[in-house]
């Protein structure tokens, strides 16, 4: 079933037309990858789903993005948007833990949303760290600063921080681009594990990564979604010439 649908979406940064007539459907509890050359609008598209583009001035958006059938761009109050962002979490390209302890990083959202405290909070933190496979390594040093962790651990921590607020959808913008190949593979395994419970949208530069772990793939070029479909089809039997050029490495 589609959890997110995008209909005829256009986005302008001032006069620059960054997303052009995008229409797509994102299936629940699957990994959807978005690939394409640098600057084609992947991050911009991803940031549509949790309305992070709202923070940018001079931006104009037309079209629809529906989560569970409700157009998220009809939301008017900041409260509604904040609530949307709890449902649609985001992991960024560079691991960006707060300069707080490991525990406080994971607890951050819950504490502020006043959703849990005391024992309940501890349990959620534990469950989140377990879900990203950090618990066994770090359970005795929850009070140390998160900045002491390796980059891979930091990125896992950032994922745990998102999981703790119990999202339905997780947006990941090139989550492995600052990691080495081994760490990358382990994060990929984590994403496969996470899709049992969450819908995952993954922006990646790395075509092998998209091919390895995603169920659906969209290929973007210059703001257009050129082709969108099952990953196996896109990579073995693409319809569009641009897609062929890109995945065979003939583009750029």
């Amino acid at each position: 079933m589609a959890i997110l649908t995008v209909t005829n979406l256009d986005l302008f940064y001032g006069a620059f037309h960054a997303l052009k007539a995008i229409t797509m459907m994102i299936e629940e509890k699957k990994i959807t990858a978005i690939i394409g050359p640098s600057g084609c609008g992947k991050s911009t598209l991803l940031r549509m789903f949790n309305r992070m583009n709202d923070t940018i001035e001079n931006i104009r958006i037309t079209g629809e993005v529906c989560l569970d059938g409700k157009n998220i761009y009809n939301m008017k109050t900041e409260r509604e948007i904040d609530r949307l962002r709890r449902k649609v979490g985001m992991v960024f390209q560079r691991p960006n833990p707060f300069p707080l302890s490991i525990f406080e990083n994971v607890a951050f959202g819950l504490r502020i949303h006043k959703k849990a405290k005391g024992q309940v909070l501890k349990e959620i933190v534990e469950a989140s760290l377990k879900a990203v496979l950090l618990w066994d390594d770090l359970k005795h040093k929850l009070k140390t600063s998160s900045l002491r962790l390796t980059l891979e651990q930091q990125q896992r921590l950032c994922i745990a921080r998102v999981l703790a607020v119990k999202p339905d959808v997780i947006l990941l913008d090139e989550p492995c681009s600052s990691l080495d190949p081994i760490a990358t593979r382990r994060i990929e395994e984590l994403m496969i594990e996470l899709k049992k419970q969450y819908t995952i949208l993954l922006v990646t530069h790395n075509m092998q990564q998209a091919a390895r772990i995603s169920d659906d793939t969209g290929f973007m070029l210059l703001g257009k979604l050129i082709e969108f479909g099952q990953t196996s089809c896109i990579f073995t039997n693409p319809r569009e010439k641009e897609t062929v050029d890109y995945i065979t490495g003939r583009y750029g």
Partner: protein, 281 residues
């Protein structure tokens, strides 16, 4: 000339210049200590002036300056921080905002005696506060606002954009993001601004001349609506208005003023460390 030698010359020059900056500071402290240290006794710090201020202590002036500085900073700091937060995080870039920003820049350049006259006209006379601690503190607070706003804005801007982004992306509201992420991270910078302000306020004479300072008050203030003695003004008085003033009292008073500023600054630094610990930064 080889690049190596040019580099050597450049570095030596830079070293000399920093020495030139440093030497006057050493000199000032040296003079104050050598001429004033003899006056520093418990009696000097903790008793009232005697013999037409030629003897006894300077307690009222110390207390007066402390009161004025603390009042002023506790007015200016919250107002300045809130204004900076508004300008930085909320204000749209429109005509009003620009006018406000322009006035802040200009306020910073106004000579301090003008603030003194303004304080006299507005706080002392118009608001009928009289010559008092509170009138002086308000005057100094207004004088300090521009620099507090500017340093606060700089420290807010130094908080990495990614922190705000993450916080918002977790569904944390803009206000909570400012309160829980931006301000705690900016706090060390804001405190540094506060230290500089305190140091400046404590030594200012002109703004309190007509608004707070008294020539001679033989007792400690009972409330903020009384006029008080203040160290910088007292220093001016004893060095120019009173004949046969023992030199060590003048220099001792100056030394106390410098020490007071140092102590206040250290308090802020300690507070800063405390906050850092609390937020586990």
């Amino acid at each position: 000339m080889s690049p190596r030698i040019t580099q050597k010359i450049a570095f030596s020059l830079l070293f000399l210049v920093s020495l030139v900056v440093f030497i006057p500071v050493l000199f000032i402290i040296g003079i104050l200590v050598s001429k004033g240290a003899a006056a520093l006794t418990w009696e000097f710090i903790f008793s009232m002036p005697k013999d037409g201020m030629r003897g006894g202590g300077i307690l009222p002036a110390i207390v007066g300056t402390l009161l004025i500085v603390l009042c002023s900073i506790s007015i200016a700091l919250p107002v300045g921080i809130l204004a900076a937060v508004y300008l930085n995080e909320y204000a749209k870039d429109n005509l009003l905002t620009r006018i406000i920003q322009l006035s802040i820049v200009n306020l910073a350049g106004v000579p301090s005696i003008i603030y003194g006259l303004f304080g006299l006209a507005f706080f002392v006379i118009m608001l009928n506060l009289g010559v008092s601690v509170i009138a002086g503190a308000l005057t100094l607070a207004i004088m300090e606002l521009p620099s507090i706003i500017t340093t606060t804005r700089n420290s807010l801007n130094n908080v990495p954009a990614s922190f705000r982004e993450v916080s918002l992306s977790l569904g944390v509201s803009r206000w909570q993001t400012i309160r829980r992420v931006v301000l705690p991270n900016a706090l060390p910078g804001i405190m540094t601004g506060a230290i500089l302000s305190i140091a400046r306020i404590a030594g200012e004479t002109a703004p309190i001349l007509f608004t707070a300072a008294a020539f001679y008050v033989p007792h400690l203030p009972h409330s903020l609506s009384e006029q008080v003695m203040a160290l910088p003004y007292h220093l001016y008085v004893i060095s120019t208005q009173i004949p046969n003033m023992p030199e060590k009292i003048t220099y001792g008073t100056a030394l106390i003023l410098v020490l007071l500023v140092l102590i206040l600054s250290f308090t802020v630094i300690i507070l800063r460390i405390f906050f850092r610990k609390r937020y586990k930064w």
